[in-house]
């Protein structure tokens, strides 16, 4: 049963990952990427990494891909235009692809990542908590790596905002604090109007 589920979701993952790069429409490609994330979350669940699986869905599916789609939907992409350079750039692309695959092969293959080097993951009892386990390690052993990663992310945010922020001093902004602080006297003037005698008779 477990093997079946594993192969089902792995097949889904590989298929949808392939579709991401072969489908012409960029919005559809983004949706296939969502499906890829989903299937990998399911595979992680099988590994009893439930925290990581759910975080993958919350962060990547729920936030990152939504912003991705946001951008992709706004782009006006001409597919014929994209296809034009295909033949011309093919040799270069093949060379890059081969180089990438050899590098990946050397890293992943044999001595580092093959199955013999790892004991099969141990089964845990029902009260085993993935989260407390992760928290223990993250905030003790790897606390500096963790904090440095957080600082790098913060720098990334600040850099992205400062690069794209356009200051336009001439535009009129709504000043919320002024609006909140406003009192009735600032806006409303009560005028006492003296009654006057009519100067002429009605109907004349």
């Amino acid at each position: 049963m477990e093997t079946f589920v594993f192969y089902l979701f792995s097949a889904f993952m590989v298929m949808s990952a392939l579709m991401v790069i072969t489908v012409h429409n960029p919005v559809r490609a983004a949706f296939f990427l969502v499906l890829t994330f989903f299937s990998s979350a399911a595979v992680w669940l099988l590994l009893e990494a439930e925290f990581l699986a759910v975080i993958l869905i919350i962060v990547y599916v729920g936030a990152v891909m939504v912003l991705f789609l946001f951008v992709v939907m706004m782009l006006d992409i001409n597919i014929a235009e994209l296809k034009r350079g295909f033949v011309k750039n093919l040799p270069l692309a093949v060379i890059v692809a081969i180089a990438m695959f050899t590098m990946i092969y050397f890293v992943v293959s044999g001595e580092h990542f093959s199955v013999e080097h790892f004991a099969p993951p141990a089964r845990h009892t029902a009260d085993y908590s993935n989260i407390s386990e992760l928290g223990q390690v993250l905030y003790t052993e790897y606390v500096f790596a963790f904090e440095i990663a957080a600082v790098i992310l913060l720098v990334g945010i600040v850099a992205a905002i400062s690069l794209t922020l356009r200051r336009r001093p001439n535009t009129r902004h709504q000043k919320i604090e002024d609006q909140v602080a406003v009192k009735s006297e600032d806006r409303l003037r009560v005028v006492k109007v003296e009654p006057r005698q009519r100067k002429y008779e009605v109907g004349k």
Partner: protein, 348 residues
């Protein structure tokens, strides 16, 4: 009789029956929630509301459902048909799937996950894909604009909502909803997390209103600006499914607010001496308390809609990023300090 019992023992049938026991009352609640919404808003605006179908209009939601079921589904020209149908399917399936982990009592829960809170957050964050797909596949300008608005709004308010839940998790030291409720017990109304986490409680509920695209955050629908937003091209049963998903999500936000901040099924009179003698109904915890608390929040949704004018888009963004997120971050620090100071009765 023995046969029936033995069928009930089969795991798949057992789980299916439990799902039905949760979903049927939920869907009925959704149906009558729409009726109550129209009645309540009607009375708030000095109207009567629906009163033609059945006695006092009680059969109105059923009539509405029948009408929508028999209407024709119209596909817009050049619409992506597959995604056009998938969109409401995603909306309803995520809205209903989240209910799998919602507990209704100390033992009354379908799936007792230890990451239940994260699961619900994940399901609500996937729900936005229904809206995005609907807007994109309809091949319509208004639907597209609504999609862009929703995507930005939901992503913004999800952060505030997540931070508000971090406060709850810090206070209860658990992601299991049953344990979160148990952590609020013992001292009656003062033990509830709404007191030490008051800003987070308010932010959670307001973000929940924004997440479900309800007034005053309903720029996604904005009938005066973009007709009906993402579901402008939908008709018949497909429209009804979007409607169903939205109301199921509203009830989910309400019941989560009741569970996480108002002690769920715990009685507010738990510690009142003269009531708890002989385990009377008022002092004992029961599902009635949970449903009553949920009803308060459900009413708030309707009250908001009848009271507030719609926020402008830039005001929504300002509220989410410049007000809610800073407040939640500050309050997480305050919760940490309260935790170390062992403020009774919540942090002991």
């Amino acid at each position: 009789m023995d046969l029936i019992l033995s069928i009930y023992e089969i795991p798949v049938i057992n789980i299916l029956l439990k799902i039905i026991v949760i979903l049927v009352p939920l869907l009925l609640t959704v149906a009558y929630f729409t009726y109550i919404e129209r009645k309540v808003i009607g009375y708030m605006q000095a109207r009567i509301g629906p009163n033609r179908v059945g006695p006092r209009g009680w059969l109105q939601p059923i009539a509405d459902a029948m009408k929508l079921m028999f209407k024709e589904i119209i596909f817009p020209t050049n619409a992506n048909k597959v995604l056009f149908i998938v969109a409401p399917t995603i909306a309803i399936s995520t809205a209903l799937a989240a209910w799998a982990v919602v507990p209704f009592g100390a033992e009354l829960v379908l799936a007792d996950l230890n990451i239940a809170l994260l699961y619900i957050l994940a399901m609500t964050s996937i729900g936005v894909y229904g809206v995005i797909l609907a807007g994109w596949s309809s091949n319509s300008k208004y639907a597209m604009m609504s999609t862009l608005r929703t995507a930005a709004q939901v992503v913004s308010y999800e952060i505030a909502m997540g931070f508000a839940l971090v406060g709850v998790v810090m206070a209860s030291r658990s992601l299991n909803i049953g344990e979160i409720v148990a952590g609020q017990g013992g001292t009656g109304i003062w033990g509830w997390y709404m007191w030490p986490l008051l800003p987070l409680f308010v932010i959670y509920f307001v973000s929940g209103v924004a997440e479900t695209n309800r007034a005053p955050f309903d720029v996604a629908e904005g009938e005066s600006e973009i007709v009906a937003g993402f579901h402008v091209e939908y008709s018949g049963i497909l429209f009804a499914i979007f409607f169903l998903a939205e109301y199921a999500n509203m009830i989910l936000i309400s019941i989560m607010a009741a569970l996480l901040f108002m002690g769920g099924w715990l009685s507010p009179f738990e510690s009142v001496e003269f009531l708890s003698l002989g385990s009377s109904f008022l002092a004992g915890s029961s599902i009635v308390w949970l449903l009553a608390k949920t009803a308060i929040f459900m009413f708030l949704f309707l009250w908001f809609r009848a009271t507030f004018p719609r926020y402008r888009y830039d005001q929504i963004m300002r509220l989410g990023w410049k007000v809610f997120i800073p407040i939640t971050i500050v309050w997480i620090y305050v919760v940490g300090i309260m935790y170390y100071a062992k403020v009774a009765p919540w942090f002991v």
